[in-house]
């Protein structure tokens, strides 16, 4: 079978660190071929174009209209996902979209409607579902090994920028810190936890309470959030997401799932993998950012699942409805943090449970 023709929309950090490595692997295996790369930063698109021998452009329509393109990998910030998906759907191109699905539920609903009307697959890239640890945990839960899931918590810790490449994160000079384009840590990071809670608990999320704050001096977007989700049947999901750890602190995700008959837990590392002791300087964690569960293998699995879905017509393993439900939880958390009261989860109509 010939490779699936792809267009990459957005060539920023998530494309560079996650999606392009996966595309390289699948291209080497003859499963995909990157035919176009688009970014408003044309230099970034051209760099991808040179490596993959594909077209490079600063225009969305030029990328999508490239001959042979059958599917789109959407790596832009969430504020631009609706525009990209609607443009792709109009051309009957399948879409693998980065998380979060959108910046608003109205956008998400419009994306779902566009995909249904066009008959395309719209898969949301909740990448953690494809990491080995969560796959194994999910298997254990589905096999009944921990009993009924009663509480799931994942805390996520990232440091303040220690390197020039990340120096502008959570400032107005980067989209993560621009109120026009970013809701904050709940969508940049916490959307992962929202999706994992839904996936593992498997019940309807009812309401969310959250507190958030801006910790970055001069910042305008909350880069810290703590939230708790109450589910039908009494289970809880809870998460504290921080981007405020000291520079060099090892980024990690600490996941714990408790059931009525057992538990399962995982962390990226035990805060030990890369520690160094130096006389007079104590301990430090060099290059700790590299040890996140943000692993290449997960994105390879994610892309392979998307390709399989397009080729076979089977529903993608993370549907647009899954993406909307995670978004609904995350936006309820954001609304709660702003209102100071628990907020209901907007389930919309026809959301698959």
């Amino acid at each position: 079978m010939r490779p699936l023709g792809l267009a990459l929309v957005g060539c920023g950090s998530i494309a560079q660190s996650a999606h392009l490595p996966a595309i390289r692997r699948l291209a080497a295996a003859g499963q995909v071929r990157l035919l176009a790369a688009m970014d408003v930063n044309v230099d970034a698109a051209q760099a991808v174009g040179r490596e993959f021998g594909c077209a490079a452009t600063g225009r969305l329509d030029e990328a999508l209209d490239r001959d042979g393109v059958e599917a789109v990998v959407m790596c832009t910030p969430e504020a631009y996902h609706r525009e990209g998906v609607e443009a792709a759907a109009a051309r009957r191109l399948h879409v693998l979209s980065e998380k979060p699905m959108a910046k608003s539920l109205a956008d998400a609903d419009a994306m779902i409607a566009a995909a249904r009307t066009a008959g395309i697959h719209l898969m949301i890239g909740h990448s953690r579902r494809f990491t080995g640890r969560y796959i194994e945990m999910r298997r254990a839960v589905l096999a009944g090994e921990v009993g009924e899931v009663r509480m799931v918590r994942e805390n996520e810790r990232r440091s303040r920028p220690a390197d020039a490449a990340r120096a502008t994160y959570w400032t107005r000079d980067h989209w993560t810190g621009d109120p026009e384009r970013s809701v904050g840590a709940i969508l940049t990071n916490g959307i992962h936890e929202a999706d994992l809670f839904n996936w593992f608990i498997g019940r309807t999320p009812l309401r969310v309470y959250a507190e958030h704050r801006v910790t970055r001096p001069g910042g305008a977007v909350p880069d810290f959030i703590s939230f708790t989700v109450s589910y039908e049947g009494g289970a809880l999901g809870a998460s504290e997401v921080s981007n405020s750890a000291p520079p060099g602190y090892p980024a990690f995700h600490e996941f714990e799932l408790f059931g009525t008959r057992g538990m399962t837990s995982a962390r990226d590392h035990a805060l030990r993998m890369t520690e160094e002791y130096r006389d007079g300087q104590g301990m430090r964690y060099p290059q700790a950012y590299d040890h996140l569960l943000h692993v290449e293998e997960a994105y390879v699995r994610e892309h392979a699942a998307f390709v399989h879905s397009v080729r076979t017509g089977e529903p993608p393993p993370v549907t647009a409805e899954d993406g909307r439900l995670a978004l609904a939880v995350a936006l309820a958390a954001d609304a709660s943090a702003r209102s100071g009261r628990p907020e209901p989860v907007d389930l919309g109509e026809g959301v698959a449970q």
Partner: protein, 321 residues
């Protein structure tokens, strides 16, 4: 010192170990008494041959010190009545913190101690551990800069600690509040799994007056097969550093450079007993912190029961981030 134990909670069982290793000052355990009519002596008392008295009043009259061993859940009034009587009689009292669940009652009991000359030592099970103490001292000294957030979790075995679940919430709240300045939260929301089941979890999020966000998680959730008494994690994130205390590693303080701290694992209940037997008493700072603790405990309880956000007086509040 002639001492007696009232009630059948978590402290008494530790007393045996402490008494066996304590040689000076000489201590004599002269009796046990029920805190509530009809309660039976705990296993440790029967095993040790400790005589049971009919009433707690009879025991108080016969001893110099009282270990009030009664879980707070549902027994606040009884605890408070006994505490006041013990201190009014000029006896030493060991009891789980805090002394009361209302500030007015708390002040009344403290007043009884001042009048009668009794001293009180409160058990602060998590707060007293060496790692937590050192970590909070770093925070109090400004070692992490402005406190931005506090995360604290305490996991207990499924099916255990049902009678003292509220006490465990209090144990952890002490730590979280101390890290955030020992003041009453501006607002708090608590969610929980259904109360009273073998598996029980409470997750609370509070905003402190200065803006710090405190997240608290107490759960009876550990599988019995793990054989763990508890797992405790405390993280204090500041503008210039971070303190992390966790069960799986040495506690870590990050302030530009990093220093290791002792792991949290010692028996702090037994340590409090030993200190009390040696004449130890609560400091004024500890007593003051208890007032904030009482308020926060009421906030957790009320919010969880009502499903609403509550303010410092534990009454529902409307929004306003």
């Amino acid at each position: 010192m002639r001492i007696g134990v009232i009630g059948d909670g978590r402290i008494g069982a530790r007393l045996e170990t402490v008494l066996d290793r304590l040689e000076t000052p000489p201590t004599e355990l002269v009796g046990w008494a029920p805190a509530r009519p009809g309660a039976q002596p705990p296993a440790w008392a029967a095993r040790r041959g400790v005589p049971a008295r009919e009433t707690w009043q009879e025991l108080v009259a016969d001893v110099e010190g009282v270990v009030l061993d009664l879980a707070a859940d549902g027994h606040w009034h009884q605890r408070e009545v006994v505490s006041e009587a013990v201190l009014e009689a000029g006896k030493a009292l060991l009891v789980d913190a805090p002394l009361a669940d209302f500030p007015a009652v708390y002040e009344r009991i403290r007043g009884a101690g001042r009048r009668g000359g009794g001293r009180v030592k409160s058990v602060r099970a998590v707060r007293a551990s060496a790692g937590v103490r050192d970590g909070l001292a770093t925070v109090a000294d400004g070692g992490v800069g402005e406190v931005l957030a506090v995360y604290a979790s305490l996991h207990l075995p499924v099916g255990e600690a049902e009678a003292s679940f509220g006490q465990h919430v209090a144990d952890l709240l002490q730590v979280a509040l101390d890290a955030a300045g020992a003041v009453v939260p501006a607002r708090l929301y608590a969610a929980g799994t259904p109360a009273g089941e073998a598996f029980e979890a409470v997750h609370a999020i509070a905003r402190m007056p200065a803006g710090a966000i405190v997240t608290l998680e107490v759960a009876r959730c550990l599988p019995q097969a793990l054989g763990l008494a508890s797992e405790c994690t405390v993280e204090v994130t500041g503008s210039a550093g971070l303190v992390r205390l966790a069960p799986e590693q040495s506690a870590v303080t990050v302030v530009g450079t990093v220093a290791s701290r002792p792991i949290w694992r010692e028996d702090t209940v037994a340590a409090a007993l030993e200190d009390w037997l040696s004449g130890g008493a609560d400091s004024e700072a500890e007593a003051s912190a208890d007032l904030a603790l009482m308020a926060a405990m009421r906030m957790v309880k009320r919010s969880r029961a009502k499903g609403v956000v509550v303010g410092p007086d534990a009454e529902p509040v409307e929004g306003g981030a």
